[in-house]
């Protein structure tokens, strides 16, 4: 029988004599290399190369005929509009992320306290803003904020309030873009925190109860330490995404009024694509990089730590 089994596997290349196991090892890493090759090509060709190319582009003049060093960067730093963009980007990212984190935390806790059966239904509804592509849901917000037909203003008129210039005045417009981002992003925080809450073993709460902890103490000494990692990962990740946001501002205000709601991405788009100054646009986006890099490194550290904890 064993002969039959043997003859059933005619593998000429296997039968070839091999001097050492190193050859198998080498063969293994060759296969591994081939399997990862598409990924490596993708990362090198469509992420690393464009990034280096962006640095090169940012050092050309407007018509891309001459190398001008860091002139684009110094030019931007001297412009008041650019500093407005910096201010608005930071304001937008920080306030939106804080609000999203807070709302997400509250919702996750409320959901977690519900009986398992109802939880699913509520969770299903609360995640809807995250599921609709933002470029599409923002259209609905745009319509809700319409200067003459705003459904919000109609409702405000119903209680006797004055109409609000949602997208027309600087302060309100900044509020509106943040509001829409909070609307879109809170469910993500909620679902992340909910997953983290579910991973805290019930026994810890039971032990804390027996040790005499009240609700607040359990939150402070059990829930929070167990979730700290997820919270920091989520906040950092959201800072990156929010800081680099494009869709919402582009559709709602396109940077207006008077460039007061521009963030880096929309400003880069306006300068680089719409006004055709590619090098200057590239410089604008590159200004995002240092901050993003810092966030990214901390996110990675958080994830690695969590992976170790879970193992």
């Amino acid at each position: 029988m064993s002969d039959a089994t043997l003859s059933a596997v005619p593998r000429p290349h296997e039968a070839a004599p091999r001097s050492a196991l190193q050859r198998i090892a080498r063969r293994n890493s060759t296969i591994a290399f081939l399997l990862t090759l598409p990924l490596i090509l993708l990362i090198l060709g469509l992420v690393v190369y464009p990034f280096l190319y962006a640095i090169y582009l940012s050092m050309l003049n407007r018509r891309m005929t001459r190398f001008i060093g860091i002139e684009n960067f110094t030019f931007l730093l001297s412009r008041e509009t650019f500093w407005d963009v910096v201010f608005q980007s930071v304001l937008f990212a920080v306030s939106a992320v804080l609000l999203k984190a807070l709302i997400g935390f509250i919702l996750a806790h409320v959901l977690h306290a519900l009986p398992a059966k109802g939880q699913r239904k509520w969770r299903g509804m609360l995640l809807v803003p995250w599921v609709i592509p933002p470029a599409i849901s923002t259209l609905a917000w745009w319509w809700l904020f319409d200067p003459s037909y705003s459904a919000f203003n109609w409702a405000l008129a119903g209680i006797g309030a004055d109409p609000v210039p949602w997208l027309g005045a600087t302060g309100w417009a900044r509020f509106s873009v943040i509001l829409v981002n909070v609307w879109y992003g809170s469910p993500f925080f909620m679902i992340m925190y909910l997953a983290a809450l579910k991973s805290v073993p019930d026994q810890l709460y039971e032990a804390a109860s027996i040790d005499g902890a009240n609700g607040w103490q359990k939150l402070r000494h059990v829930t929070f330490p167990m979730m700290r990692n997820i919270i920091s990962i989520t906040v950092l990740f959201s800072l990156i995404v929010t800081f680099a946001n494009f869709d919402i501002v582009r559709i709602l205000t396109n940077g207006g009024p008077q460039d007061s709601t521009h963030v880096f991405a929309t400003y880069a788009f306006q300068v680089g694509i719409q006004s055709g100054d590619i090098p200057l646009g590239a410089s604008v986006s590159l200004f995002m990089f240092p901050l993003l890099a810092v966030f990214a490194v901390f996110t990675l550290r958080g994830v690695n730590k969590r992976t170790k904890e879970m193992a």
Partner: protein, 297 residues
């Protein structure tokens, strides 16, 4: 708000009488908070639906209630589906998304298998690199990409999207697939090895079927990202016949200052439908994919 936060933590060892009352109030608080947020979260989609069912006269009538429909009509939907380029945009979105999902899954599954199971020179660095790539936002790279796409002659060509969108999906898909693959017990590959499977047979016959939930989660992620992508289409696609939904709706239905809000809302609603349906039917996989980033599978 304070009552609702406390709602999650009803101390179990309170005195008998107050315990039930406390718990009831906490539950009521919880439901009130949920209701408030559900209203907040559902307002835009609801208003979208209401507007899409109105005729243009009703929309223009400032005296009417914008939150209600008095004469519902499917005219907006009908016009979208029979005239103009809406269906073309829908088709383009489907083509681009399907191709992106396929490419992403092939690239990320192969790479994740190698990274999860074969230790080779630089594999740890590559895995870290994949995660960092995932954190690179597309808004950082769209300007050089604009030049690259132009030099490839793919400007204003929807196939450029098929080339570029995988950069948005592959890193994360690879990352979560590494997690799913790594959770498969090592003895399973050893059993397959002894049973006579080669590397690709092991991947195809063991890893992919066993990690199917992870594959599904990654696929859903790739689908939603590619369906929702906005900055590349708006930067690279200018003629209507090449556009995908996220840019097509606005560009075709806004002529100068005339906003056809009824049709915009109808188009937006239909464009939001595929992700919503995927979400409704595959919610658990959707959420698994969402939360996998921080927990590695």
């Amino acid at each position: 708000m304070s009552t609702t936060t406390a709602g999650g933590f009803v101390p179990a060892e309170m005195k008998h009488g107050s315990l039930r009352r406390e718990r009831r109030w906490a539950m009521i608080g919880a439901y009130v908070a949920l209701a408030v947020f559900v209203v907040f979260f559902m307002t835009p989609p609801f208003h979208m639906l209401v507007t899409s069912l109105k005729g243009s006269a009703e929309i223009a009538d400032l005296s009417g209630n914008p939150w209600l429909v008095s004469a519902p009509t499917l005219q907006n939907y009908w016009e979208l589906l029979t005239q103009g380029n809406y269906l073309l945009h829908f088709r383009n979105s489907i083509i681009v998304t399907t191709c992106t999902v396929l490419i992403s899954m092939v690239v990320s599954t192969l790479a994740a298998f190698a990274l999860a199971r074969m230790k080779f020179w630089g594999s740890a660095t590559l895995a870290t690199g994949v995660f960092l790539t995932y954190l690179v936002p597309e808004t950082l790279l769209f300007i050089p990409m604009f030049q690259i796409v132009g030099s490839l002659g793919l400007y204003n060509n929807m196939w450029a999207m098929v080339l570029i969108f995988p950069t948005l999906t592959v890193p994360f898909c690879t990352w979560i697939m590494i997690g799913y693959f790594a959770s498969i017990p090592k003895e399973l590959d050893e059993a397959a090895l002894i049973d006579g499977a080669g590397h690709l047979q092991m991947l195809w016959k063991i890893f992919i079927p066993v990690a199917l939930p992870g594959i599904l989660a990654a696929m859903i992620f790739a689908f939603t990202v590619s369906w929702a992508a906005f900055i590349y289409p708006i930067a690279f696609l200018v003629s209507s016949d090449q556009m995908v939904l996220t840019v097509g709706i606005v560009s075709d239905l806004i002529r100068a200052d005339t906003f056809q809000w009824g049709k915009i809302m109808a188009g937006a609603l239909m464009a939001a439908l595929p992700p919503l349906l995927v979400y409704a039917f595959l919610m658990d996989y959707y959420i698994a994919g969402l939360t996998a980033g921080a927990t590695k599978g």
